[in-house]
Structure formats: structure tokens, C-alpha cells
């Protein structure tokens, strides 16, 4: 839902060390002979980097694929954010990549076969504006980014399955596949929403539409399946579009601006999502599958918290004790609403039960709002 959720990105990034000029090679010198030029030779088993120290500013990478597989070349920050990348470098071909890099530590990676973490080499960029960061927080951000990517990767097949059922006109199958197709997205929502253009396409509710905006995405299909009870030709187009839009998200997740504090605030924002949309049953108003989204939001918040816990425990041990307790308590409460592999329909959850869920969300979200301070101390 496109509430104002940009704060995961814009929230006073304390570790924003990088501005990137990604991809294209159009203006770069093909020979890459400047002082800030580096040659990267990718083979099937190696990633040879001609130099590892640079002055801050523009760098030019001349990549050569001397292996037998298609490769990719990436530059990563310590938190595993993609600074720049070039995909699809065929065997025997060359590509030039440029980037504007601030002082700090980075890694250059080659990915023969375009899979996995790649073969990595550390490089150092020196000069003005060196940013001191806590390596434990860098590691936490890197691990979180990796997890977010894995969630996005895992979502695609589920969404494809959902879309295929719609294409086949199978209402019952599509209904069953609706909630599971959203779990990865709901777990990582603050990051997903940080790309302002994807969320309005995929996760807008009827009341969230801007004037003139075409309604697309999950909730439009939800209405067709549960309220209109039919699948039209338009729905089939929309289902295919949903897959395309989410594949776009999957590709861009690695470039999201994530810091330790934005992770912490993102965790709180996941609970905000629950507090405003799910606890009232507004989010999935046709399917009443709100509890699936609710649980996924809690899991996403917990993931971010678990990764930041070591540092938070040092700065604010009482907060960590409280958060452990509240996460356990809300999950225990949610467990009482499980039904088979899924959840009870939210229209069977009465006002008194909703109040209890709302109280549990407040009990967790209030201390969770203090997590950013505990990692930024």
C-alpha cells in the first residue's frame, strides 16, 4: 500500500557513502588507461583485478570475460549494496563500467554463470569524506540485503503460479495462491516500497488510487477473485503485468539504500503497516487473508531485529529483553489463529480479538521504535 513509506530509504542515512552511476558504458574510455582505471579479467574460476587502491571519484572498470560462461561484474559496498554492475558479458567479450565512488572499502565481484555471491576482491578508495562505520552493522545490512534478495527470488515462482492459475481461469487455485504469493513482499515491504514506482503498481488498494491511476496489482485481482467471482481477459493481462513488475523489483532489490537505522525503522514500519491496515481488515478486504500478511510483516521485522540485535544488546540491553519478549508474545497470539497451512479468515476475528491483536502490535511497535536509537548510539 503506497502510504508514505519512503523513510526506509530517506531516513537520515548515516552510512550513505556511495553515489553510483550505474551500468552503461557509453562515455567511458574503452582503453581504460586513466589513473582511476582498472582492468578486471573474469574467467570461470577467477576474478583478476589490476589494482586495488583508488582515489575517490570516478573510476572506470574495463571488464573482460576470458571464461566460457556468461559473466557479470559488480562493485559492492561493505553492506553489499550494488554500487555498479554489468550483466550479460558473454565469453570473449568486453564491457566498460563507470562509477562515482566515495572513500571507503568495496568489493569487486565477477559472477561466472551469473549466479551466487561471485568471486570477490577487496578494493580501497581513499580521499576526502571517509566514513567510519561499524563493521558489525555493515555485516548486518549485508545479511539483510541478501535475505531481502532471497525473499524476492522466492516470491517470483509463487507469483508466476498465481498468474498461471488466473491465465487458466482457475478461480479456486488462484484464491489459494493469492496469500502465499504476497508473503515475500510483505516480509520485505519497507525495501520493496523504497522503489517508489513498484509499490503503486503491485500493492495499491482501491482507496489508494490517485485520480487517473489505473488499478493494477494484487488487490485488483483479489477483487476479481473474491468479489466479482470471475476472471476476465483484463485480469489475465494484469496477472502477467504483476509478474513483470515483481521481476523488476527482484532485479532492483540489491540497489536499495539500506542502513542499519533504516533497517531498524523499516522493522517498525512493518508493524505500522499492521497497525493501520491489517488489524482493521482493510488490507485484504475481499479475501480476508490479512493474517497471512500480518504474520509476514512480523517475520520481516523480526529478521531485521535479529540482525541488529548484537549491537542493540550492547547499547540497550533492556530494550533487547523487551523486544525478545514482545516478538515471542505476538507470535504466540498469532499462532492461535492458524488454520491448516494458513490462517483463519479475518472476517471471523471479532472486535474483542482485534483489540487484543492491536494491543499486541502496540506492545511490540513501541519498543521497536527505539531500535534505531539503540543501533545509532
Amino acid at each position: 500500500m503506497p502510504a508514505v513509506r519512503m523513510s526506509a530509504v530517506t531516513a537520515a542515512g548515516i552510512a550513505v557513502a556511495v553515489t553510483a552511476v550505474t551500468g552503461c558504458a557509453e562515455k567511458a574510455d574503452a582503453d581504460a588507461t586513466g589513473s582511476n582505471a582498472v582492468t578486471v579479467i573474469s574467467t570461470d574460476s577467477k576474478c583478476e583485478v589490476s589494482k586495488t587502491t583508488f582515489a575517490a571519484g570516478k573510476i572506470t572498470i574495463s571488464a573482460q570475460n576470458k571464461g566460457s560462461k556468461v559473466t557479470e561484474v559488480y562493485v559492492y559496498t561493505p553492506s553489499d549494496k550494488i554500487v555498479t554492475e554489468r550483466e550479460n558479458i558473454g565469453p570473449g567479450t568486453k564491457a566498460t563500467i563507470t562509477a562515482e565512488i566515495k572513500a571507503g572499502s568495496y568489493e569487486i565481484a565477477c559472477k561466472p554463470g551469473m549466479k551466487g555471491d561471485g568471486i570477490r576482491q577487496k578494493i580501497t578508495v581513499t580521499g576526502k569524506g571517509a566514513v567510519k562505520t561499524d563493521p558489525r552493522l555493515d555485516a548486518a545490512v549485508a545479511a539483510y540485503r541478501k535475505w531481502v534478495q532471497a525473499e524476492a527470488d522466492a516470491t517470483i515462482p509463487l507469483v508466476k503460479k498465481f498468474a498461471a492459475s488466473i491465465e487458466a481461469g482457475d478461480i479456486e487455485a488462484a484464491k489459494a495462491e493469492f496469500a502465499p504469493s504476497r508473503v515475500g513482499w510483505e516480509r520485505t515491504e519497507p525495501v520493496a516500497e523504497s522503489f517508489g514506482d513498484i509499490d503503486p503498481l503491485t500493492d495499491t488498494r482501491a482507496d489508494g488510487l490517485d485520480p487517473g491511476q489505473k488499478w493494477t496489482g494484487w488487490h485488483r485481482l483479489e477483487k476479481s477473485l473474491w468479489q466479482d467471482k470471475k476472471i476476465t481477459a483484463t485480469d489475465k493481462t494484469l496477472a502477467a503485468q504483476l509478474v513483470t513488475d515483481l521481476e523488476d523489483w527482484q532485479k532492483r532489490v540489491g540497489k536499495a539504500e539500506i542502513t542499519a537505522t533504516s533497517m531498524a525503522n523499516g522493522a517498525k514500519e512493518l508493524l505500522d503497516e499492521v497497525a493501520t491496515g491489517k488489524v482493521t481488515g482493510e488490507e485484504d478486504r475481499y479475501s480476508h487473508t490479512d493474517l497471512s500478511d500480518f504474520y509476514a510483516n512480523v517475520e520481516g521485522a523480526e529478521k531485521a531485529y535479529e540482525l541488529l540485535k548484537t549491537v542493540a544488546a550492547e547499547n540497550d540491553p533492556a530494550l533487547v529483553t523487551e523486544l525478545d519478549k514482545q516478538f515471542a508474545s505476538i507470535k504466540k497470539l498469532l499462532d492461535t489463529y492458524r488454520k491448516g497451512d494458513g490462517w483463519v479468515s479475518y472476517d471471523t476475528v471479532d472486535k474483542t480479538q482485534q483489540k487484543k491483536l492491536s494491543d499486541a502490535v502496540n506492545s511490540l511497535a513501541e519498543p521497536l521504535s527505539k531500535l534505531a536509537a539503540a543501533v545509532a548510539k
Binding site: N265, D359, N362, S369, A373
Partner: protein, 425 residues
């Protein structure tokens, strides 16, 4: 930082409150001296601070402020230590807010990435005679028949569950509660700020069950002032316990050492009732009938057959079922201290004014106070045609917080802890 973000500091005041007069029983008004060094300001108009500490809690005999935010909480934790810590945190926050200071580290100046301790909407506002008064509902002591926090045997005998009165249409979602906080202030924003911040501190330990905003005081504890009118346009509760009348308070309001239990000495009992008024039908009632129903004139507020508001009523001049005739202490023998407020929560779904009286009364014993009085009223009061009791709660109100470091409910929890230790638990 605390001083830097105090509301007084924002105002450019000195921050050094000057206490005038005796700061004895909670409710003494302190007046803050302006930094011009000139004269002291009128307590009410200056939005001064009410002394938080005292043998009784402030907000009971304190001259009634203009605005109310009353909140009733359910206790959600089972951990006694957590509850005690909450009461300590609440007391500390209440003490600060009563002085016009921000909660914790304040609303501004902290980390940009984290939400501030104080929500900030009272920045720049004066203390506005804010009082915060806490009460303990039956659910603190035992819930569903089970002992709670080891406090069951400390439940006061007089903290009874109210009987069902004729005509009651109680909404469970506007009734009861394990704890309550009454916030009274001359500025509604100050009262709302106080409840909001206490609720926030309480998340995870307590949850708001219901709350009520009130805007026009309907009774006065200052007899020299005119009795305010309720939403029916009448003065009601003229004969109230005066804030200055120590002997009446001792007799009717404060739990004495001999009343028991020990931990409640210096405390009181609070009955809260949300009384909906059928405004539209009332407004279509003739003036003569309205006056007959109340037993008072509408203009002056004089008892029927008399001239002035405070004239001694002649009950025989009133109809048998006139409100004053049934409720007046001289006739019913019941004296309670009322400090209720009018409320309006907009309109209901039918376009009727959702309004009435939020009745708040303090007394030494509910069994000899509110219960017999309400029995009498609910059975025969002519007013019943125009009102309906829709919410109800009762609380034991612990004694005051004597000094810094003391906290709401200390005597109760320490007594229980000592008894548990003695039993070797």
C-alpha cells in the same frame, strides 16, 4: 536536556517554581514566578502548576479544572515487577508533566533517527493546573476469581462491584478497567498530552480499555464560585464538598486509618459513570416541567420555592421524584465529592447529539456513598426519562505520592511483598 525542553523553559520562564502557601494536601496550587520578577500571577489564569506531591493525590479536592481526559486501562502483563516499574515510570512522568515539563528526554533535541520520548504537543503550553490521579480497579486484585499479583487479599472490602441499577444500559467496552488515570487541566491539549504519553509508556504492560474526554466541569469544589451548568442547562450538584472544607473531606472523602486496608489510608474511592442524555427530547420539554424534574429554577438555580442557588431547599415544595429532592445530602444522607464533566462525542449514527455527563465522584466508602444514592435515583428519579447510564467503573484511589522517589501504589505493593517474604514465598 530535561530542563532545556521543559515547557516553562520554552516560555522563557525561570524554571524555578515558587511555592506559595501551604503545600499540604494534594491540590495546593503553586504559582510560578515570571522572569520579569514582577508579581505572581493568578493561579488559574496563569495556567500554574498544581503541587503533585501530598498526602492525598491531587485532582480530587483540587479546584476543578476546565477539561478532562479520563482513561481506563487493562493490565496486560502478568509480571508483578513490570507492573511496579510501570507505576514508577508513570509517577515520574506525571510529576514532570504536572510541572509543565516534557517526559523523559523531551520532544526535541534527541537522535534524528529515533522517535522522541515526549510527543511534543504540549511544548510551549503552561502547566495549566494539570493533575493526574490514578485509581486501582477490582481487576488489579483479582480477575475471574483468581489472585492477581498476590494482591487478592489486599482488595479493599469497600471496592465492591457495583450492583445493576434499574435502567442501566452498560456497554462493557466503556466500563470497568484495572487501572485508571484522571487527567484534569485548564487546557484540553495538556490533558490529552498527559494521557497519550502515559499510554505510550504503558504499551506492553497496560492497554487503554476506554477513555473519555470532558469539556465543561459540571460541579465545583469552590463554593464561592457559581455552580457550572450541565448540558441540560441546569446547575446540579450545588451542595458539593468544598476543597477548603477539611472536616467534610475527612468525613466523606478520605479513607481513614481505621477504615482499612492500611495501604489505602489517605486514599479514596472513585465511581465513574458515563451518563448519556437524550438531549433532543429534553429540549422539547417545557420549562416548567424541566424545573419540576430538577426541583430547581433554570435561571438562578434556586431550589423550587426559594430565591437563591444556595438557599436551603424545601423538599416539600418539590415533586416526590424531583432530582434534587432525591439526591440532596440533606434528604438522602449521602455526601460524595463530585467533579464530573460534560461530554460530547459528536453525534451518533442517527444524528442525535452523543452527549451527556461523565459523572466522577470520590467518596470514603462506595457502599454507603454512591450505591444507596444511585439505588434511590435509578428507581424513582424523574430525570431518568432523559438520561441513561451507559458506562460504569469503580476504583480504589491510593493515597498521594509524598515526595520524589515515592510512587503510586507503593504502600500496597510493599505490603504485599513483605507479606510474601514473611511467608517464605
Amino acid at each position: 536536556m530535561s530542563e532545556a525542553t521543559s515547557r516553562r523553559a520554552v516560555l522563557g520562564w525561570t524554571g524555578a517554581g515558587v511555592v506559595l502557601g501551604a503545600a499540604a494536601a494534594g491540590g495546593a496550587v503553586t504559582v510560578l514566578k515570571g522572569d520579569t520578577g514582577s508579581d505572581t500571577q493568578n493561579a488559574a489564569s496563569a495556567g500554574a502548576a498544581v503541587e503533585f506531591h501530598g498526602t492525598h493525590q491531587a485532582g480530587i479536592v483540587t479546584p476543578v479544572q476546565d477539561r478532562l481526559h479520563f482513561a481506563s486501562f487493562d493490565i496486560t502483563t502478568d509480571d508483578r515487577d513490570e507492573l511496579v516499574q510501570l507505576l514508577k515510570d508513570w509517577t515520574a512522568a506525571a510529576e514532570r508533566m504536572s510541572k509543565g515539563q516534557a517526559v523523559g528526554e523531551g520532544a526535541v533535541g534527541g537522535l534524528a533517527e529515533a522517535p522522541p520520548d515526549d510527543t511534543g504537543e504540549a511544548l510551549g503550553l503552561q502547566p495549566s493546573r494539570l493533575t493526574l490521579t490514578v485509581g486501582f480497579g477490582p481487576g488489579l486484585f483479582d480477575k475471574d476469581g483468581k489472585d492477581r499479583f498476590g494482591l487478592k487479599k489486599y482488595r479493599p472490602e469497600a471496592l465492591v462491584d457495583l450492583p445493576k441499577f434499574a435502567g442501566d444500559a452498560l456497554d462493557t467496552r466503556r466500563s470497568g478497567g484495572d487501572l485508571c488515570v484522571q487527567a484534569c487541566a485548564d487546557d484540553p491539549q495538556v490533558a490529552v498530552h498527559a494521557i497519550r504519553n502515559l499510554a505510550r509508556i504503558g504499551f506492553g504492560k497496560v492497554a487503554i480499555r476506554w477513555s473519555q474526554l470532558g469539556f465543561g466541569k459540571t460541579s465545583s469544589t469552590t463554593p464561592e464560585a457559581q455552580t457550572p451548568r450541565n448540558l441540560m442547562g441546569f446547575k446540579d450538584g450545588t451542595h458539593n464538598v468544598a476543597g477548603s472544607d477539611k472536616s467534610a473531606q475527612t468525613k466523606h472523602v478520605w479513607v481513614s486509618d481505621s477504615d482499612g486496608p492500611d495501604w489505602l489510608a489517605g486514599g479514596s474511592y472513585l465511581v465513574a459513570r458515563r451518563i448519556r442524555m437524550h438531549i433532543e427530547t429534553w429540549d422539547r420539554t417545557s420549562l416548567g416541567e424541566q424545573e419540576q424534574i430538577f426541583g430547581r429554577t433554570k435561571g438562578e438555580g434556586a431550589p423550587l420555592g426559594k430565591k437563591h442557588e444556595r438557599d436551603t431547599p424545601n423538599f416539600k415544595a418539590m415533586k416526590e421524584d424531583a432530582h434534587v429532592r432525591l439526591a440532596h445530602p440533606d434528604n438522602s444522607g449521602v455526601t460524595i465529592l463530585r467533579r464530573g464533566y460534560s461530554f460530547t462525542d459528536g453525534t451518533d449514527g442517527l444524528g442525535r447529539l452523543e452527549a451527556g455527563l461523565f459523572f466522577l465522584a470520590y467518596m470514603r466508602d462506595v457502599r454507603s456513598g454512591f450505591i444507596p444514592l444511585q439505588k434511590r435515583l435509578s428507581a424513582t428519579d424523574a430525570l431518568n426519562e432523559y438520561i441513561q447510564h451507559v458506562g460504569s467503573a469503580v476504583y480504589a484511589v491510593p493515597p498521594g505520592v509524598v515526595k520524589s522517589g515515592d510512587w503510586w501504589g507503593r504502600a500496597l505493593f510493599e505490603a504485599a511483598a513483605a507479606a510474601a517474604a514473611a511467608e517464605g514465598k
